[in-house]
C-alpha cells in the first residue's frame, strides 16, 4: 500500500478563523484524514518543531500556512516548512494578502508597542515594561521572537506555490484544493485556487444593479437602512465585489453585508484597492471639485476601505513614515 501523502498546517499572524475553516469541512474531514497523513498541526495535535526539522527536505506533500508574517519566528517557520514541503500553500486572506493584520502597516512599530503595552485602556503597566527579545534570569535565557516593522504576505518571505483565498477560505474551496492535490490535477504554479472572475458574477443581487450608477453619496452600511435585494452599489454603499475574485458564493452579500474584498483581486489586477478606487470614484456624479470631494468624503478611510485585506500585498505595501 502506497504511503499516504503527508500534509501540514501552520498558523502565523491570524485570528484562527482559517484553522476553524478546516474543521468546517465537517464530515468531509474524515475523508481527508483517511486520505492523508497529517504530520504537523500545532493547533490540533501535539507535534514539535524538532519533529519537522527531523523530516527530510521535501517530504511533506503540501503545507497550508495561514496568517500574515509579522515576527521572526513566523519567518523562520515559513522557511522551515518551505524547505520540507513539495507544495506550500498560502491559506486564507492573511497569508495571501496580509489580511487584517496588515492594516497595522499604517503605523510604526513604536506606536503599536506603545499603545499595546502602555496606552491601551485595558493595560495597567505603570513601569512601562515592554517584552524583551532576550531575558536572562538564574542563568537561564528566555527569548522572544523579533516583532517586525512590516507585516508581510507569505510570498514576500518564501516562495508560494498556490493560494487559497478568503477570510477564511470556504470548505468547498478547501475540499477542491485537497482533491486537486491528491489527484495531481493542479493548475500552473502561482495560481489562486478560485475563479478568476469578480464576485458580481455569482452575486444574487447582480441583476438588480442598474447600468447607470452615478454616485451622489456614499453611505456607510451600519448607518443606513438597506434594501435586502438591491445591489449595494446601487444603494451607494461601497461593495468590493466588483474588484474581488469570486468563489465565496457571495456569502457576505447573502448575509446582507457588502463584500469587503477578502478574496483579493483577479489575476489581471496588480492592486485591488487602486482598482476599486478607480471604478468607484470615476462613477461619482458630481463634476465640480467641491461636489466630487463632498461625495468622496462619504468614504472617510480609503486605506481601510479599499485595502481591508490587501495592504501588505498592495503596491505601496506600508505607510511611509513622514518626516
Amino acid at each position: 500500500m502506497p504511503e499516504k501523502p503527508k500534509i501540514a498546517f501552520y498558523w502565523c499572524a491570524s485570528c484562527g478563523g482559517c484553522e476553524e475553516s478546516v474543521v468546517d469541512l465537517a464530515e468531509n474531514i474524515l475523508d481527508v484524514v483517511a486520505a492523508v497523513d497529517i504530520v504537523f498541526w500545532p493547533v490540533a495535535m501535539d507535534f514539535k518543531v524538532s519533529d519537522v526539522e527531523a523530516m527530510p527536505d521535501g517530504s511533506i506533500a503540501a503545507t497550508m500556512i495561514n496568517g500574515a508574517i509579522r515576527t521572526s519566528e513566523q519567518e523562520e517557520m515559513a522557511r522551515l516548512l518551505r524547505r520540507k514541503s513539495k507544495y506550500l500553500i498560502a491559506y486564507g486572506a492573511c497569508a495571501q494578502l496580509g489580511g487584517l493584520p496588515a492594516l497595522a502597516n499604517q503605523f510604526p512599530r513604536e506606536q503599536i508597542m506603545k499603545f499595546v503595552y502602555e496606552e491601551s485602556p485595558t493595560v495597567d503597566n505603570p513601569a512601562r515594561i515592554r517584552p524583551q527579545t532576550k531575558f536572562a534570569e538564574d542563568g537561564r535565557v528566555a527569548t522572544l521572537p523579533e516583532f517586525r516593522n512590516v507585516v508581510r504576505t507569505l510570498d514576500q518571505v518564501v516562495e508560494v506555490d498556490y493560494y487559497l483565498p478568503g477570510c477564511a477560505p470556504t470548505p468547498k474551496l478547501l475540499a477542491k484544493a485537497v482533491e486537486a492535490l491528491l489527484t495531481g490535477d493542479l493548475p500552473p504554479k502561482g495560481s489562486v485556487l478560485a475563479p478568476d472572475v469578480a464576485l458580481c458574477e455569482e452575486c444574487p443581487r447582480k441583476d438588480s444593479k442598474p447600468t447607470e450608477v452615478a454616485f451622489k453619496e456614499f453611505k456607510r452600511p451600519h448607518l443606513t437602512a438597506l434594501d435586502p435585494t438591491l445591489c449595494f452599489l446601487a444603494q451607494g454603499v461601497v461593495c468590493m465585489g466588483v474588484a474581488t475574485r469570486g468563489g465565496c458564493e457571495a456569502q457576505c452579500v447573502r448575509g446582507h453585508m457588502p463584500c469587503t474584498g477578502c478574496f483579493g483581486p483577479t489575476s489581471r489586477v496588480r492592486d485591488q484597492g487602486a482598482k476599486v478606487l478607480s471604478s468607484l470614484s470615476a462613477n461619482v456624479a458630481a463634476e465640480d471639485e467641491h461636489g466630487i470631494e463632498k461625495t468622496l468624503a462619504g468614504i472617510p478611510d480609503p486605506v481601510g476601505t479599499f485595502y481591508r485585506y490587501g495592504l501588505a500585498a498592495s503596491l505601496l505595501r506600508r505607510k511611509v513614515s513622514l518626516r
Partner: protein
C-alpha cells in the same frame, strides 16, 4: 481581436511565438537633436537592450534614405519591431508607420520616442538630456516587444440619411442632400412640415413674407424624388453606429390614405360638425378646427388628418361619417392602424427645433388671468392674414388695442426659469411692434433689459423701429395687473416697471400685453437625446462636439444637429447650420467608408463579471450590457479609444489595443529602471 495571429490581414509578419527582433534608430535631426543629446551614446545603450538586433543613428530619419534604412533592415535582419527616437509622434509617427508597413511588418509594431520637442529643445544640460532620452528609449523598447499587430478599421457607409424634424432646419438639410443625389428620409412628428416658421407672417429683419419663402421649399420636399417624407411619425428606436444606423419609425394613422387623397378638402366641409369646435394647435388655440382638419392650407403633405380624440366615429361609433361618403377617391379609411418602418441610414441629422416658454410659469405677467395678455406666438398667428382672425388685431373682448406693451425676456435670462438669452425675441419683438403698429396704429412700448440685435441688418432694423416711434423702456417689467390708481388706468392693464434709464418706476397702462417668450428644448428632446446618444448642455439643448470648430457634429460619430435643437437661433443661422450639417453628412457618406484608429478597447467575456461599472463611464455609449451572457460588451464601431473604461474596470477585464496595461506598466518600469 484577442488572438494574436502570426500574420495580419495583409500578410505582413506578426508576432506570436516568433523571436522578437527590434531595430532601433536615433535621429540627429541635423543638429536639432544631436547638438544636445549624445545620439551615439543613446544608440550604444539601446544596442544593449533585450531583443535589440540593430541600433543605428542617422542624420534625418524622416528623409527617404532614413526610411529606406528601416525597410532594408527589416528585410535583411528579419526585424519585426521598430523603435525610432526622433521628434514628436504628432509629426512623424504616421511617416514611420508607413515605412514599417512598406518594410513588410504590421505598422503597429512601431514605437516612437520624442527626444526633440521633449528633449533637446527644452533642456540645456547635455548629460541629463541624454540620460532622459535613454530612459525613454528603454521604455519604448520594452513596450514595443509587447505590441501586437493591429488593423485600422474600415466600415462601409450606407448612402441614405435620416433627418428628424421638418422645420426650416430639417427642410433645408433634406433639400441639400437630396440635390446632391443622396436618399433622404425626413421624419416629422406633426401632420405637416414647416415647423415654427410656417406660423409667421413676416420674418425679421427684412420683413419678407414667411410663406413666400417657406412654401416653395416645402413643396420641393414633397416633390423631390430622393426624399421620403413621413409626417405624423416618430423615431422610436435606433441601433447601430456611424455608417449603419438601423432606425425604427412609428407612423401614426391619420385615417386618410396618403396615396389617394388629393387634398380637395371636401371631407372637411362635409363633417357633421358644421362649425369648427376644437382647439386649433396650429393657431395656438386662438382658432378652432374640426375633428377632420388640415393645419393650414399650404400644409405639406396636403393631406387631411382625423383626430381620433375628437372624431365622433371614434368617440361614440355613431357618426354617419359624411366625410367618408363624400370623398370620391375613397381616401377616408377608419380602419388604418399604426405602421412601423425600418430603415438603414449612414448618417443622421437631428433638427427637432424648440418649444416656446410656457408663460403660465410666470403668473406675475398675468397670462390666463387677464384676457388681454398674449404670447408672441399667438400674436404671430393674429397678424397673419390667413390666421385665425384673418389678420385683424382684435382683443378677446373685441376691442382694437390703442396701446400695446411688449415684454421681453419672458422665460429667458432668469435664473428662476431659464438662464439663457433666447437670441431671437429682441428682434421678433421689434418685428411684432412694427406689424402691430401697421395693423392698429397703436402706441407700442417695448420693455427690455438689453437690446440684442447683432446680425446683418439687425441693428439697422432696431433703428428703423425707433424712427417709427416704438417706445423703448429699458427695464424688466415687474408685473402686469388690472389694479388701477388713476382714472386713465381704468379698464387697462398696468405694467409696472422701472425705466432704468430715467431711474423712475413707471406705471404704464396698455390695452394689450405681448409676452416675448424665450426658447426651450423641444418636447421629447430628451428621448431623442437618449436614442441618438447626443449629450446635452445643462439647459437641455443638444451639445455640439465643439462650440466653435465642430458646431454641427455631436459626440456620436455620424449624428449631426442643426437649428434650434442645438440652441436658440434665428432663421438665417438655422439655415446656415442646416447647410453645414448637410455638408458634413455628405462628406461622411460620399466617401463610402469610414476609417478608424485601431486603439479601441475590448472586453474578454471570460473575465468580465458583468458588474456594469464601466457602462456609464463611456462617453460614447459604446459599452452595452448583454442580457444573454450577462456581461458587458464594447461596440468597437462606437469606441474611440479613450481608455477610460480600461482604467476603471475593477477586475481588469478590459484591454485597450496599443495601450495595454502591461505595455504601460513596462514603460513605467523602464523609465524608473535607473533610480
Amino acid at each position: 481581436m484577442t488572438g494574436i495571429p502570426n500574420t495580419d490581414g495583409n500578410g505582413r509578419r506578426g508576432a506570436a511565438g516568433e523571436e522578437i527582433r527590434i531595430g532601433f534608430y536615433v535621429c540627429h535631426c541635423g543638429m536639432n537633436i544631436a547638438s544636445l543629446v549624445d545620439v551615439a551614446a543613446v544608440a550604444k545603450e539601446a544596442a544593449k537592450l533585450p531583443h535589440v538586433i540593430v541600433s543605428r543613428e542617422y542624420k534625418y530619419m524622416c528623409s527617404d534614405p532614413g526610411q529606406e534604412f528601416i525597410m532594408q533592415d527589416i528585410r535583411e535582419n528579419r526585424l519585426n519591431r521598430i523603435v525610432v527616437a526622433a521628434c514628436s509622434p504628432n509629426l512623424h509617427e504616421s511617416t514611420f508607420r508607413g515605412a514599417v508597413a512598406r518594410g513588410g511588418i504590421n505598422p503597429y509594431f512601431f514605437q516612437m520616442v520624442n527626444i526633440r520637442e521633449h528633449g533637446s529643445w527644452v533642456h540645456t544640460d547635455a548629460a541629463a538630456a541624454t540620460a532622459k532620452a535613454i530612459d525613454q528609449v528603454r521604455a519604448a523598447v520594452a513596450r514595443v516587444a509587447k505590441h501586437r499587430p493591429l488593423e485600422r478599421r474600415r466600415m462601409e457607409v450606407n448612402q441614405a440619411v435620416l433627418i428628424v424634424g421638418g422645420g426650416i432646419a430639417g427642410i433645408t438639410a433634406a433639400l441639400n442632400l437630396a440635390d446632391a443625389g443622396k436618399k433622404v428620409y425626413l421624419v416629422e412628428r406633426e401632420p405637416t412640415i414647416g415647423g415654427h416658421m410656417a406660423k409667421y407672417d413676416k420674418t425679421f429683419p427684412t420683413l419678407d413674407c414667411a410663406a413666400c419663402i417657406l412654401t416653395p421649399k416645402m413643396s420641393a420636399v414633397r416633390e423631390h424624388p430622393n426624399i421620403t417624407l413621413w409626417t405624423y411619425s416618430e423615431v422610436t428606436k435606433v441601433d447601430g453606429h456611424v455608417g449603419k444606423f438601423k432606425v425604427t419609425v412609428r407612423r401614426k394613422p391619420r385615417y386618410i390614405d396618403e396615396e389617394t387623397c388629393v387634398g380637395c378638402l371636401e371631407c372637411i366641409s362635409a363633417c357633421v360638425f358644421k362649425t369648427p369646435k376644437f382647439e386649433d394647435e396650429f393657431n395656438e388655440g386662438l382658432g378652432k378646427r374640426k375633428p377632420i382638419y388640415i393645419p393650414f392650407p399650404q400644409a405639406v403633405p396636403p393631406l387631411v388628418t382625423i383626430d381620433p380624440e375628437t372624431c365622433l366615429k371614434f368617440k361614440t361609433g355613431k357618426c354617419k361619417s359624411p366625410c367618408e361618403t363624400v370623398c370620391d377617391r375613397k381616401a377616408v379609411d377608419f380602419s388604418q392602424t399604426e405602421k412601423t418602418e425600418e430603415i438603414e441610414v449612414g448618417a443622421v441629422i437631428v433638427a427637432t427645433g424648440f418649444k416656446a416658454f410656457d408663460v403660465t410659469r410666470l403668473p406675475i405677467y398675468g397670462y390666463g388671468l387677464y384676457d388681454n395678455v398674449y404670447t408672441a406666438l399667438e400674436v404671430e398667428r393674429m397678424v397673419t392674414s390667413s390666421g385665425p382672425t384673418g389678420g385683424e388685431i382684435t382683443l378677446r373682448d373685441g376691442r382694437v388695442p390703442k396701446s400695446i406693451g411688449i415684454i421681453h425676456c419672458v422665460g429667458s435670462r432668469d435664473k428662476k426659469t431659464n438662464r439663457w438669452c433666447s437670441r431671437v425675441c429682441c428682434m421678433y419683438s421689434l418685428k411684432l411692434a412694427h406689424l402691430l403698429r401697421e395693423h392698429t396704429g397703436a402706441d407700442v412700448y417695448q420693455f427690455y433689459i438689453d437690446m440684442r440685435c447683432p446680425g446683418k441688418g439687425y441693428d439697422e432694423f432696431y433703428e428703423r423701429m425707433l424712427d417709427e416711434g416704438v417706445q423703448m423702456i429699458r427695464g424688466r417689467a415687474a408685473e402686469v395687473t388690472d389694479w388701477t390708481m388713476s382714472p386713465e388706468e381704468e379698464g387697462k392693464l398696468v405694467v409696472r416697471v422701472e425705466d432704468t434709464l430715467a431711474a423712475y418706476v413707471r406705471r404704464i397702462p396698455v390695452d394689450m400685453v405681448v409676452l416675448s417668450t424665450g426658447m426651450e428644448p423641444a418636447v421629447g428632446a430628451d428621448e431623442i437625446r437618449r436614442m441618438f446618444n447626443i449629450s446635452c448642455s445643462t439647459e437641455g439643448f443638444f451639445l455640439e462636439k465643439h462650440p466653435k470648430l465642430a458646431p454641427v457634429e455631436t459626440a456620436t460619430a455620424g449624428v449631426f444637429i442643426a437649428g434650434c435643437c442645438q440652441g436658440p437661433k434665428d432663421i438665417p443661422d438655422t439655415v446656415a447650420q442646416a447647410g453645414a450639417a448637410a455638408a458634413q453628412a455628405l462628406a461622411l457618406i460620399d466617401k463610402g467608408y469610414v476609417e478608424m484608429e485601431p486603439n479601441t478597447s475590448y472586453i474578454d467575456p471570460d473575465d468580465c463579471s458583468g458588474c456594469k461599472s464601466c457602462i456609464p463611464l463611456c462617453p460614447y455609449h459604446a459599452i452595452a450590457f448583454d442580457e444573454g451572457s450577462k456581461k458587458a460588451v464594447i461596440n468597437e464601431a462606437l469606441c474611440t479609444g479613450c481608455g477610460t473604461c480600461v482604467a476603471s474596470c475593477p477586475s481588469g477585464s478590459i484591454s485597450q489595443n496599443l495601450f495595454e496595461d502591461d505595455q504601460i506598466f513596462s514603460e513605467i518600469e523602464e523609465v524608473l529602471s535607473h533610480v
